[in-house]
Symmetry: none
Subunit: 226 residues, 2 copies
């Protein structure tokens, strides 16, 4: 998941806290949305489908705990990361928060560095869960943990690049990946490799997995199809 696509919903009734967090997150390239209270937060969340929601505990209308509970009750937010924002000496017990499904507690006052790295840590968790270890696509199973592809019960080991290429293409079956997208995602933005490198790896995959799965879109790139 690109950092550029990450949407964070901040919920707090204090405008300056909101702005401060927003400023720091935007500087890092996140998409930031804000709401002033729980009701607004829920409405907005349904519109924008954020990846992370940061909820202040004390809010008018609907407090953080209640908001969180309501969000968690909706299936679309089952896997959204939700964190609470709390003054250090606010004597709400954290227990209540975790009970309603919070993923983390962040204490005020907010220090930018700490705050950002906290968010990043939460994101890693998010990636961890939806970048599942196993991916099954049309009879082919990709085991990211063991770097294996399993087809018809047979385990096929792939070298790193081949595996990453396979993994990229199979992550969205049917979708065409442009050559430069493949280059930047598998080889990295900085590395410069020759024009034929991708083709050679595709060729190896075709050999090992099967010709029929890898389709060439001339002038554009490749796609994986089952």
């Amino acid at each position: 998941m690109e950092l550029n696509d990450i949407k964070v919903l901040l919920v707090d009734d204090e405008a300056d806290v909101l702005d401060f967090m927003k400023y720091n997150l935007e500087k890092e390239g996140f998409w930031v949305y804000t709401a002033r209270d729980g009701m607004e937060a829920i409405q907005l969340a349904r519109k924008i489908n954020p990846h992370i929601i940061i909820l202040d505990l004390m809010m008018p209308k609907l407090d953080g705990i209640e908001t969180c509970r309501e969000l968690r009750a909706m299936p679309e937010f089952k896997n959204t990361v939700i964190a609470f924002l709390t003054a250090r000496d606010e004597d709400y017990s954290q227990v209540a928060g975790f009970e309603v499904g919070a993923d983390d507690y962040i204490t005020k006052p907010i220090k930018p560095r700490v705050f950002i790295s906290r968010i990043r840590a939460l994101l890693r968790r998010l990636e961890g869960q939806n970048g599942v270890a196993k991916l099954v696509v049309g009879g082919i199973e990709i085991d990211r943990e063991r770097y294996l592809v399993i087809k018809d019960g047979k385990e096929i080991t792939l070298p790193r690049k081949e595996f990453e290429l396979m993994n990229l293409l199979a992550s969205k079956p049917g979708r065409v990946f442009k050559r430069d997208e493949i280059l930047s995602k598998v080889w990295g933005n900085d590395t410069i490799v020759g024009d034929r490198t991708i083709d050679v790896h595709i060729r190896k995959l075709r050999e090992k997995i099967g010709e029929e799965y890898f389709k060439t879109i001339k002038g554009i790139g490749y796609k994986f199809d089952a």
Copy 2:
């Protein structure tokens, strides 16, 4: 998309805010147009077809929300980036804005650095979507992500130029594209190809998609119609 070609439409009733934004954007190489209220904004937008529209929330005649709603109702602005400009403590909820299809909120007072990077971020998003992945026009579906045209459930793969031509024409059904417009959009401003090249590609599309969809406007160009 070259930065040089990016057109930004700023809409605000306060002249100094307008000037300030204009100055900063022009310094960065954007083409900036301005309007004082929603009515003017809509008229101007239809003329210049901007990539981004920045709407002040509070405006005479037609406020930001309403303007946005009207713009979004027109097919040509379906994919335009629209952002709202709002005073920090204006307690309009963001919900209303996102409901009418806003892409972002920018808070006043405007800080040049932040403002510019926000605009750039919005542009990246625009490029990313590159128009929506799927476009459905009268029983024909164009799947840009999979590089497919689907008609009556049948998947039709098109070579690159044909696909791009198809995509261009179908992006505004009914609208006539002049031959030189087609040339510059599908082939690029620099490449020099004969006039007959377009016809040949139209021919192939007629073969693959159906004669009836591609209408010739003699002396002008072609249009796609369902």
